[in-house]
Symmetry: C4
Subunit: 123 residues, 4 copies
């Protein structure tokens, strides 16, 4: 999945950090492209963790953005982020992990995370 996300990043001409966590929130796989921004290293891990909630981090943001208490409150949790680029990894409707991508624009991050997930469909 990390390789697939990185392959997509190369197509988009951006430099990404990619993290995959298991259903216990522990890092399972990680890759940082040469020259990828360091702030995405923390970011992608937060995104992968947050996605364990069961929705993409951008959807998570859209869901809570209207309620300032949730937005400010949840953002303060130590491994959570409301920045897009994290997606849950699901098999048969069950959350088995999360993938997070950080380093490009929010759109590029989401695009690469989706590319990572596509590996599952091909199996």
């Amino acid at each position: 999945m990390v390789e697939a996300a990185i392959a997509r990043a190369k197509e988009l001409n951006c430099k990404q950090n990619v993290a995959v966590v298991d259903d216990g929130g522990n890092l399972k796989a990680f890759g940082r492209m040469d020259g990828a921004p360091l702030l995405g290293t923390e970011g992608c891990q937060r995104k992968a963790f947050t996605a364990l909630f069961g929705v993409g981090t951008k959807d998570f943001y859209n869901y809570i953005k209207g309620e300032q208490g949730l937005l400010i409150g949840l953002s303060h949790f130590s491994r959570v982020t409301v920045v897009g680029g994290g997606l849950p990894i699901m098999i048969d409707g069950e959350i088995i992990g999360g993938i997070g991508v950080g380093g490009g624009t929010e759109e590029q991050d989401i695009d690469c995370a989706k590319a990572g997930l596509k590996v599952l469909e091909q199996q």
Copy 2:
């Protein structure tokens, strides 16, 4: 109290993390239902701690939300949250602890925390 909150969560068909802290802010009891979101694990402990202030975390938010300095400032304290689902545990008007629930919607969290408190009334 944890068991009562979890029993209520089952009725509501949601999966919760439940924390109880004593009046010193230290964890006294904790339970996580199978499949409960991990971000609620931190969240429910923050809620229980914050409730030691003497009000529910949702009331706490409503009280400070009009004053941006308080909202942003207090949210940054390391064990505090402004997300609903934390309630003080009081006996004879004295705060003896806090209960926090995290994993569902804010309404479900509050509902389950209240169910936890009801154990006290029955004694």
Copy 3:
């Protein structure tokens, strides 16, 4: 100074945490009244530290609140807060420390911090 702030808190009928830091930002004195809210324990230390900037934390907030980047950015520093109740300790125009009070309303916190500073005038 801690004792003076606590004496004032008793007059105001609130329960306070009081911290004094030296000009190096290190804790010099601290007192927590029985029953004072635990979230003020961290809060008063953040306030005392932030006041080393040379202004009260409420004035600090008022100064930066119009510029969202500063407000959100500075609030994230690990020992800073924008909540009122911290005041610089100054002698002959030089900052020699900070006092912070937390546990009451913002007004009570500021009031007690001022009472702490009055000890200096009496010497």
Copy 4:
């Protein structure tokens, strides 16, 4: 670079903290003027780190400020800030580090950071 930034701070009559990080985000050089505010000590390091993203921290803020999710989300990363005063250090279009200045007004901080970068042009 630190010396050049401090020399500029003396001209502006402000007291600064100055940090330089390498392209790995590790502290390379640091200087704090006598009397410089302690909260700038953390601030300048966050600014230098954040600037490794490739833009100044003020530009970074201006870029994300319209999108609340990014503003709140990215601000929570542990070494990031959206406060101006951090600039990337670039040679031939490549980011080789970051410089951050903290302790004055945002304008003064940026001014001093630019003065630090000018050392490069003179070589």
